[in-house]
């Protein structure tokens, strides 16, 4: 097929929008940690932006989307972008240059790895996290992306629907975050309930704002064409974010006061949940998906806190469980009237689709948790995952990076 200018423009803009989400995650997370760790937390995401941007063009894209091998992994034919050029691919996004699709996908891989870092802030050794990130991209992300989105991937063939990455991005990151946090162990003082105050909530909200903005590229861009489906996914996405943010605000209000941290977290939960559904459900379905996301994530966060697990910034509760609810919700609310390439869900009388969605959820949960556990252990026995007690007490900004966020006595 010839290159379509409108599709190409939209996909390139979408790739840029998704790129901005990773600095967004960096600020979202950075503002939530204590001030001695704000730079190290931002660094984790920003370094991943650089690292995965490199690994993706070298081999990540080929492993994920390259010619299928047995339904489980892409071949090495596209290593170093060999034959990935200005002409469209014959299988993916066939109306835009293959390079445009490749770089759009790069941004998804980047943010998925960056999301995990929220679980282990304030005590993980940077060098170990850096190595873990490279290993995780290769061993966990690339295979899952291939199963769900790769031409010939086995979950794709099964018919599990994941429009923009509810399973590939959010479940995989959230579940891996939980596994890694358990491996690394809690921050000093966590068990003793020492207060760990967010150092800069305005920064958290700036990050959430960038995420919400970038998510239009993430979800509406995943239409891979510029047209009705992109517009539909755009509206569904915004509606879910709005419903979830409002719901979370009300939940915190019932508890005591309507919190800004709550409304921002709710928006992100709604965005994560609508990700797999955005292009398969009608825009008004964003409302039940968003409300459900806020309720599910809020109570999962409470559960996580009560179990005494220091999955510090709740990647599991927000992305893992938000994504899980979203993939399920896709099986409930999907309709071929919205997207003929999709399927009908439970409400359209197709209970089978819900089972396919469950198969996708179960697979990603088990594989992501198990593989992350093995990789984390590997890094732990070779390099050690944690910083020393002194380094942790001083803070990671100074001990890991030799920098501080707010320096100087003079104004």
């Amino acid at each position: 097929m010839p290159v379509n200018a409108a599709d190409t423009a939209w996909l390139l803009i979408s790739a840029a929008l998704v790129m901005l989400m990773t600095p967004g995650v960096a600020l979202f997370y950075g503002g939530m940690v204590r001030r001695k760790n704000i730079l190290s937390t931002i660094m984790m995401s920003f370094a991943v932006l650089a690292l995965v941007g490199l690994l993706w063009v070298l081999y990540g894209y080929s492993l994920s989307f390259g010619p299928d091998k047995w339904g489980i992994i892409g071949g090495l034919d596209w290593v170093g972008l060999r034959t990935v050029g200005q002409e469209p691919s014959s299988v993916y996004a066939t109306t835009v240059p293959h390079l445009a699709f490749m770089i759009f996908q790069a941004m998804f891989a980047i943010i998925t790895v960056a999301l995990i870092t929220g679980a282990v802030v304030e005590r993980i050794k940077f060098s170990s996290l850096f190595l873990f990130s490279a290993l995780w991209l290769t061993v966990v992300y690339c295979p899952i992306a291939h199963w769900v989105w790769g031409s010939g991937g086995w979950l794709a063939k099964l018919g599990a629907l994941d429009f923009a990455g509810g399973a590939v991005v959010h479940i995989s990151a959230g579940v891996s975050a939980l596994a890694l946090a358990i491996l690394v162990g809690p921050r000093r003082g966590f068990r003793e309930k020492e207060p760990m105050e967010p150092s800069n909530i305005p920064l958290v909200v700036l990050g959430a704002g960038l995420l919400w903005f970038g998510w239009f590229g993430f979800n509406a861009g995943s239409a891979l064409t510029s047209g009705g489906l992109a517009a539909s996914a755009f509206v569904t996405t915004n509606t879910s974010a709005a419903a979830a943010a409002t719901t979370w605000m009300i939940l915190s209000w019932i508890y005591r006061r309507p919190t800004l941290l709550g409304v921002a977290t709710g928006a992100v939960a709604g965005l994560a949940a609508v990700t797999p559904a955005a292009g398969f459900v009608s825009p008004m379905m964003g409302i039940p998906i968003g409300i459900g996301a806020a309720v599910v994530c809020y109570y999962c966060m409470l559960l996580r806190t009560r179990r005494g697990i220091d999955e510090s910034l709740d990647v599991w509760a927000v992305h893992g469980m938000g994504g899980t609810w979203g993939v399920l919700a896709t099986g409930i609310f999907a309709s071929v009237a919205v997207n003929s390439a999709g399927a009908n869900g439970l409400l359209m009388g197709n209970a089978m689709q819900l089972l396919k969605q469950l198969a996708g959820i179960g697979t990603v949960w088990v594989f992501a948790f198990g593989a992350t556990w093995v990789l984390g252990k590997l890094v732990d026995v070779t390099m050690g995952l944690r910083v020393s007690t002194v380094e942790e007490t001083v803070g990671l900004d100074i001990s890991q990076h030799g920098e501080r966020a707010y320096g100087g006595m003079l104004r």
């Binding site: 207060p195 915190s252 919190t259 709550g262 966060m301």
Partner: protein, 112 residues
């Protein structure tokens, strides 16, 4: 000479400043401090649930006064800073050896 260190509520700074000014002391040093006495901490909300912050923000006002002015200034500050609730703060009085005005080099009571 005595140094008066008054730990006060943030919102009482302007009242205390005016009281000192009326009492004839125009100069003072103010710093942001954290601490707690009997008031205990502050309960804040996290994304879910809440947590307790033990140290509350207060202001410390420091002013050096002549010996004979001490009780008058203590009364002025106390009156200006009091609400009657817990958390109104504390005032300490410390002896001062000497003082120097940097601009002129004047020493002792002339310097304050």
């Amino acid at each position: 000479m005595k140094k008066i260190e008054a730990i006060i509520r943030e919102e009482k700074l302007e009242a205390v400043r005016k009281a000192l000014e009326t009492s004839g002391y125009l100069g003072m040093t103010v710093s942001e401090v954290s601490g707690h006495g009997r008031q205990g901490g502050l309960i804040l909300q996290w994304r879910v649930g809440e947590y307790k912050v033990d140290f509350l923000p207060k202001l410390k006002v420091e002013v050096v006064v002549l010996d004979e002015d001490v009780s008058r200034i203590l009364n002025a500050i106390t009156a200006a800073a009091r609400t009657g609730e817990m958390g109104d703060g504390k005032i300490f009085v410390l002896p001062v050896e000497d003082a120097v005005r940097v601009r002129t080099g004047e020493e002792g009571e002339n310097a304050i």
